[in-house]
């Protein structure tokens, strides 16, 4: 049944007794056309677009834990399309367009809020880089505005503009960027996929991938064997373990990324703000908590918790940029496991095994990619052709050195992103 203002009113007046579960917790069947390993944001959206765009509905999503229990339910919820390099640029542009129609498409309130994202710069050199990035964003057809110091001050008066080391020179503003409610994105895609006939199977860990003569035949799971014509690995931080079941060694190293939330406060930060002189970004959730994060801890980890040095660095950067948050109490922090690729850009591609597809390498930017990634992965699975906006996310670019997308310009090596 669909959601509408009328429905909310009616249920409110009749004791909210008419609501049913949004999606079905399915039991595994023995046979599917497509099995998607991983029920995170990308796996759910892949299944949704397989059904919606390609009419492929005999699909199972196999999730080791529960829907919304991984990184899709624990991230800083930022949605933007301000990339610089060809490859990333067209992909995130496409993804942002999907976000803009997502609530209507899913008939689900994902609380997509285009509150604008401001990337600050603190020197003449950084201003030049921001102009260049802005031009690249314009060339892609997306929006970017260069704000000088006074314009930034008008927008966000509470920053420390005259910090001795990092004075604020201005910022690059993308008004169409913003945030979305992460859990709702998972639930909305799950509902859309489930309604179209996709089986969402939780507590089902894949323990093996069946391959015969170079062709995928199915998977072994903690809930029995499942045959499938096609299998997609969409498991983010656990990509290396799953791909190893298919005899692959991936260009991926898993790292921990921390984020932090304060107690709920009155509305004070209207936009997403990124500091340009240290890794720090912040927004305020609809519940009032300040949500902020920084850089990776910078060592391989699956521990789902970080160490104090990075927590300290993030707090220091926050206090340098906006001293007003100093009295807010941090309520909780967490660490998510990121599938880091050598150049910091993702992979959506075939594998050497026929019928086996790979989606990984989202580094710390997977949330905003959820609709675009699913759209492009579904296209690859359904047609065996690369979807144009994601055509450069090739697995072999590291081997050949051709088409690397090193957005930060630091090099294509594991410890640099």
């Amino acid at each position: 049944m669909g959601f509408s203002g009328w429905r909310v009113l009616k249920e409110g007046l009749t004791g909210n007794k008419g609501w049913a579960p949004h999606w079905k917790d399915a039991e595994p069947k023995s046979d599917y056309d497509v099995v998607i390993i991983g029920g995170g944001g990308h796996g759910l959206s892949t299944a949704y677009y397989l059904a919606r765009n390609h009419g492929i509905t005999n699909v199972a999503i196999l999730e080791k834990g529960y829907i919304g229990g991984g990184n899709v339910g624990r991230n800083t919820t930022i949605v933007r399309a301000n990339y610089f390099l060809p490859g990333n640029s067209e992909f995130y542009s496409h993804s942002l367009k999907l976000w803009e129609g997502l609530e209507e498409d899913l008939n689900y309130n994902v609380m997509h809020s285009q509150r604008g994202q401001l990337s600050l710069f603190h020197s003449d050199g950084q201003r030049d880089a921001a102009v260049r990035r802005g031009n690249s964003i314009h060339n892609q057809g997306d929006d970017a505005e260069l704000l000088d110091r006074d314009a930034v001050r008008k927008l966000v008066p509470y920053l420390d503009y005259d910090n001795t080391r990092f004075p604020i020179y201005g910022g690059l503003l993308q008004r169409r960027a913003g945030t979305a409610r992460h859990d709702a994105v998972a639930w909305g895609f799950a509902r859309g996929a489930s309604d179209r006939g996709v089986d969402i199977i939780q507590n089902c860990e894949v323990t093996g991938i069946d391959i015969e003569n170079g062709v995928v035949k199915g998977v072994q799971t903690s809930r029995g064997a499942i045959r499938a014509k096609k299998v997609a690995m969409v498991v983010a931080g656990r990509s290396s373990q799953v791909a190893a079941m298919a005899g692959m060694r991936l260009p991926i190293e898993s790292h921990v990324l921390q984020a932090f939330v304060t107690e709920g406060l009155k509305p004070c930060i209207d936009n997403v703000i990124s500091f340009g002189m240290g890794h720090f970004y912040i927004s305020q959730s609809d519940k009032g908590g300040l949500v902020f994060g920084g850089d990776l801890d910078f060592y391989a980890s699956y521990a789902a918790r970080g160490n104090l040095p990075m927590a300290e660095h993030v707090m220091e950067a926050g206090m340098t940029l906006m001293p007003m948050i100093g009295k807010a109490k941090v309520l909780r922090s967490w660490g998510g496991i990121m599938d880091m690729s050598p150049d910091g850009s993702p992979i959506i591609d075939h594998t050497p095994t026929e019928g086996l597809y790979l989606n990984c390498g989202w580094c710390y930017g997977g949330f905003k990619a959820v609709p675009g990634s699913g759209f492009s992965t579904a296209h690859l699975i359904a047609t065996d052709q690369k979807h144009e906006p994601a055509a450069r996310f090739r697995l072999d670019r590291f081997k050949t050195g051709c088409g690397l997308m090193d957005e930060e310009g630091t090099g294509s090596q594991h410890n640099l992103h």
Binding site: S240, R249, E253, H414, N415
Partner: protein, 90 residues
């Protein structure tokens, strides 16, 4: 996390720079096959469990250290000088 430098003793993680998997000390021959170089530079086992990686004691004695640790718990199991590991291999 604290790491024990074989020269300086137990020190704060902040003194060290993380390089990555200890495969870095097994550099292939210059004329090795492209696939071997691809494996060396990019492809990783990336274990969820015990791993060996290479750290540089940047703010200390500048030693290169092979750290054996658990990626699931962050427990540090062993640290050795990279030079000693390399000698042991040859």
């Amino acid at each position: 996390m604290r790491l024990t430098c074989p020269i300086c003793g137990e020190r704060d993680r902040r003194e060290f720079y993380y390089v990555g998997d200890a495969v870095a000390i097994d550099r292939p021959a210059a004329n090795a096959d492209a696939a071997v170089w691809d494996d060396y530079v990019h492809n990783r086992v990336n274990p969820a469990g015990v791993t060996r990686d290479l750290w540089y004691h940047e703010s200390g004695c500048a030693a290169w250290i092979v750290v054996t640790r658990n990626t699931l718990t962050h427990a540090v199991l062993e640290t050795e000088l990279a030079s000693a590991v390399k000698e042991g291999q040859s």
